[in-house]
Amino acid sequence: MAKAFHEIRDSIHVFIRLSSDERKVLDSPPFQRLRHIHQLALTYLVYPGATHKRFDHSLGVIELAGRAYDVVTENINSEVKEMLPDISDPLKRVYWRSALRMAGLCHDLGHLPFSHAAEKELLPAGWSHEKLTADIIRSEMMQPIWDEMKLKPDDIVKLALGPKEATDLKFSRWETILSEIIVGDAFGVDRMDYLLRDSHHIGVPYGRFDHYRLIDTLRILPQAPPDKTGSPKELFLGVDAGGIHSAEALMLARYFMFSQVYFHPVRRIYDIHLKDFLKETLTEGMFPTDISQLLLITDNEETAKLFAAFRNPLEKGHLTARRIICRKHFRKLWERNPRDFEINPLAGDYIFKAAQARFGPDEFRYDLHIPEIGAPDFPVRLSDGQIVSSLSISKTLADLPVPVVDYVFCNPDILAEAKSWLKDNHDQIIQPKGEEEGDE
């Protein structure tokens, strides 16, 4: 007799259980492709353990999505229940649980090789991995699986992408809340899994937090009063008071993982060199947006091209491939610091342009990035039932800084000369220019 459930060993969640229908998604070519896309691109050149793939992460997300769904739908008060009629319908509850788990499993299907490394510059305007994910979920290839599971692909797209990315779809209140379970800024299980998984594989403890406790205390709650005039009748994912410290730990984990790992300067410059290589070697410098073409490409094909280019000086991208493989990456010339920032918030851009003008445009790279994370303001239900803003009860959350990348990188061959030049000219270079005529 065929097994009703299939168990997969996982380094973070121990076992991940899939139904036979869910297993068909796992076995589909678009999902199997994720076995060959590194979660963190070339980060393994800095942290050797960072060789895990989108495949493992997506399995982690289905597991956490199912757990979070069960907790939030079983711990709900009458006011919220009235606002979300689907919760009281047993058949709909089963449907949406299945749709949410599939959204968790499929949320990364459209990733380009090497995940996020320079995605924006390697796709035509208006395209993103989220849009490609939606195309794959809606594709003829996946449709028979959804038909068997009696799931609507657009429902999976909504929950996998959320209102920010699935802008062509109209969301109900219920669908909006469910999408927050996957992609929500505060408690999205996508982020929970990647923090836990990345920190585990990399070997840094910063990304750990008590996700068992956190998920057990997740609740669908009315918005805390934004001011003294009352609250809009809207719902958000929040926590019971007992979960506030686990929530703080999650936000601190996020801060430390960004500032210590994701924004590590050498990791960042490898992303830039990789983008340069792909721009040089891909047809018209872009990945295809036709999913039948995209699904043929993984990290493996691009890594093979990288080595071929490294071995043959006549191949396109040879010099960039050498930089990556021989670790001749650009070095940090400047990074944001309070003194320069106070004089000119655009100091990095000024230094980059001045350095290019002095030494040549190809000798430098500029990297400015701020992660898309909102303020950690979410509703918390106190033991007396009162709903309060997280920031009104947690100084830890209120004081949490936003991590920033702001680096100027330099070709190592001229680094010493560039450093000396910058030392001599620094103060003059970073002086802010006045507003130009007609510039307003």
Binding site: P163, K164, T167, K170, F171, R173, T176, A224, P225, P226, D227, K228, T229, G230, S231, P232, K233, E234, F341, E342, P345, L346, I370, P371, E372, I373, G374, A375, D377, Q386, I387, V388, S389, L391, S392, I393, K395, A398, P401, V402, P403, V404, P432, G434, E435, D439, E440
Partner: protein
Amino acid sequence: MNSLKKAAIITSLIDSMRLKGSWCGETHLQKATYFLQELLNVPLGFNFILYKHVPFSFDLRDELTALRANKMISIEPQALPYGPRINSTMISEKIQNNFPKTIKKYQKRIQFIADTLDAKGVLDLEKLATALYVTLQMGRKSSIEERIDEFRDLKPYFSSSEASSTFDVVDHMIEDSRKIVK
């Protein structure tokens, strides 16, 4: 519009709103920016969508994160149970001073928004922003009944009379704004 000019306008809006007694949390600022961009044509470039059934911009949320990261705004937690307020900072004052032409160009429009929305709370702002969204989507030539139906489809917990009076206010705002945006 470059990022520093955008920062100068948004922080100037925050200053003007707070002077008029606005609570100036993120929701208040989202709605005020929506009016500034869509009603007064200040080209901030934010994409507003219906989120939780009212106009909301994820781009603006990301911009506010960037302003926090760059220490141009700060979050001021409030006493239990209320949400935080947003403050401008010394750095944002400096940025505004660096862009006098930009500030001068849009000052009247910023002031119009601050004056019109004054100390309104989120419930009133939600009604006004939804009414403007419906009006811009359907056009002012559509009947008031059609607009009310659409409004109540989005916000069923407001009555028809509340919707109707909100459209009156928004129609006046549209007329008044035309005197400023010529």
